[in-house]
Amino acid sequence: MTGAAATGGPRVGFLVTCLVDTFYPRVGMAAAAVLEHLGCRVVFPEGQTCCGQPFYTAGLPDEARALLLRLPDLFPEVDHVVSPSGSCASLIRLHARHLCTRGTEVEKRLLSLAERTWEFTAFLRDVLGVTPKSLGLSPEEKGEGEITYHYPCHLRGLLDAESARSTCLDWVQGARVALDRFDQCCGFGGVFSVESPEISQAMLEDKLGCLQRSGARTLVCNEGGCALQIGGGLNRAGRPVRIAHVAELIAERLGVAPERGE
């Protein structure tokens, strides 16, 4: 099912998320390119804004619901919705049902869409069923040097930590090194990062300490929030570790990566 020429593939609505849209556009382009390479027909409805996740976690369920309910009209004719962020995917897939309990038509459409909403890695694994092996990519020890994986918390409930780690690291080139407490939160937490900066920093310090001890040169980090947090800490400490979304690394291996911009 590989090759951009395949036209019978699933129609995928791409939910880029506001963080990727604004801070990590290259991640979005890479994810879309990989999906297209794997035969998906990718559409990006420009009317999308925020899925509502920050409002849900801030204790503003009505606000979150209003934003969620925009989704069915944005993605009217797609087989799946795919997002490069587990955080947004989990809001839609796991939490929307708690917010949409009135049984209206648009709620029903949202909940149907929710069942077809995927985080990028989970979509590759569970829907497309592709692996590096199935694409004829051999494991490669060179490439990115020492590489490791951070498990973003909001994948919990979508893809468990061990599966997520092995799925992602299967795709990458480089010598895999273990990251202690790879499934411990980095301390981002959205509003938490500015409301409790001291605790957020302490959690970040632990993550950076584990990362330093791992000796990794590249950190696979598939969540915009975690990337802002860990990347921000690394930059302040002057430590040159590359943070990459697995979509970028896959795109690079497949030769469909967008140019590395700013």
Binding site: E46, L60, C185, V194, E195, E262
Partner: protein, 466 residues
């Protein structure tokens, strides 16, 4: 507690390197043992489901189970008391101590007695109280409060304990924990010989049999419940389980979750006071059931918090707890469970900052043996009693409204991008503008957005295709 003091205490704790080292090493160690113990269970998920549903059954029909347990306890010769408030509970225990002429109480580890601050009340009434759990004994010698539900001195390293023993018991400084344990044992044996009152909590009370179940590791509870002539049990009303068969489900989960043991070295099932022919046991057994807000919690959306069996597993995996320790919370119950339980038990306590101080990482939900969805409860508290400050709330509401419009979204995106890019040097900001200023006050920079957004790039690409 003073206003805003949670944040101050938490911030101070994060700067205490020794505290954080002790916390990390202890909590990660306990959790590693828990993982291993859980892995031994054939179907831990099914067991957790079963435990949750038993607790829900009890909580859904609590009055009936309370009547049943009262009948069972009285049948086996125990006296049952019901306390609606903390004050009533301390009054009941003090009255029992007075009536029985007690002067020295040997106390087993109990968070519920911490909740009602029983030691102070007894001491004010002239009853000396000695904690006999080793960790709690250290806490008492140090004049502190426990910082963890099951590991009260998790915040202390060996050197700190040795220092306390030197100061309070005259034991020369040592790095051999056995010396300290031996000193504590000597002191406590003397207490067991002299005490005339035993006080414990209960991990469970079995409704059908009237058995008080105490799960522990040091054998101290055995002395507290067998030597003194009077034994008082303080138990929250949510501690009931219907049958001994149900109890087995919890016993398989509790020790594994708390310490990674299959079962603790001592698991006592105490059914009534000393009977004719018994070699030991108290002449009188009193069981005090504490409400103190629990009935009220039962009527809220957060009632599932009452399933909690106080194993402490959620504390051990919580990255916030690992960073600040239990004392920073300023509540009897710290950690994820405390963030939900404390504001619910104490609605006037101005504890709204607690449910908000979480990244909702769900580590706690993954390890809760009774499947309490703690993050979901935190979110629901944030939507009710733990709201953000008014101004921030209104700001977020306005933002949510704006984000319903794609045009406003793009306008906001450009405005924020422009503002951040003007502050940036080499793509990074070391001093972020309001309202992100706290971001860069921590040891982290803020990435500046690239000049073009994803939607800009996508539009260019689509344009190029045409």
């Amino acid at each position: 507690m003073a206003r805003d003091s949670f944040r101050e205490r938490a911030a101070a704790a994060t700067h205490d390197k020794r505290l954080r080292a002790a916390l990390y090493s202890a909590t990660t160690g306990i959790d590693a043992r828990r993982r291993k113990a859980w892995a031994e269970l054939e179907d831990v998920e099914a067991l957790r489901e079963q435990a949750a549903s038993i607790k829900d059954r009890v909580l859904g029909d609590l009055d009936r189970y309370l009547d049943q347990v009262t009948e069972s306890l009285e049948r086996v010769g125990a006296r049952v008391h019901r306390a609606r408030t903390r004050e009533e509970a301390t009054e009941i225990v003090v009255r029992i101590a007075r009536e029985e002429g007690c002067r020295l109480a040997a106390k087993g580890k109990s968070m519920t007695t911490e909740e009602i601050d029983l030691n102070s009340a007894l001491e004010a009434a002239g009853v000396e109280v000695v904690e006999t759990d080793l960790g709690e004994y250290v806490i008492q010698l140090a004049g502190e409060k426990p910082s963890h539900i099951t590991a009260p001195i998790v915040h202390k390293d060996l050197a700190a304990v040795s220092e306390i023993f030197e100061k309070r018991l005259g034991v020369p400084r040592t790095d051999d924990p056995r010396v300290l344990v031996e000193a504590a044992r000597e002191a406590l044996r003397d207490v067991y010989r002299r005490c005339d009152l035993g006080i414990t909590g209960a991990n469970f009370v079995v409704a059908e049999s009237g058995s008080v179940v105490i799960v522990m590791n040091e054998g101290n509870g055995r002395f507290c419940t067998s030597l003194p002539p009077t034994h008082v049990v303080l138990a929250g009303i949510e501690k009931l389980v219907p049958t001994l068969e149900d109890l087995a489900v919890f016993l398989r989960l509790l020790a594994r979750s708390a310490t990674g043991q299959r079962i603790t070295t001592d698991t006592l099932l105490l059914t009534g006071p000393r009977r004719v022919g018994d070699a030991d046991g108290p002449r009188s057994l009193h069981v005090v059931f504490l409400d103190a807000g629990r009935s009220r919690i039962l009527a809220t959306d957060q009632s599932s918090i009452l399933r909690c069996i106080r194993c402490g597993a959620c504390l051990n995996v919580c990255p916030v707890y690992r960073s600040i320790g239990g004392h920073a919370y300023g509540t009897v119950y710290p950690g994820p469970v405390g963030k939900v339980l404390a504001p619910l038990l104490d609605p006037d306590g101005d504890l709204g900052a607690l449910p908000r101080a979480s990244t909702l990482c769900r580590a706690c939900a993954d390890v809760c043996p009774v499947k309490i969805d703690l993050p979901e409860l935190l979110v629901s508290l944030r939507a009710s009693t733990a709201r953000l400050p008014w101004l921030r709330c209104q700001g977020l509401r306005a933002a949510a409204l704006a984000l319903r419009s794609p045009a406003l979204y793009v306008w906001l995106q450009r405005a924020i991008r422009g503002r951040l890019r003007r502050r940036a040097r080499n793509g990074w900001i070391d001093s972020a503008p309001w309202p992100l200023a706290p971001w860069t006050r921590a040891e982290r920079d803020l990435r500046a957005p690239p000049s073009r957004s994803f939607r800009d790039l996508w539009r260019e690409r689509e344009g190029g295709k045409r």
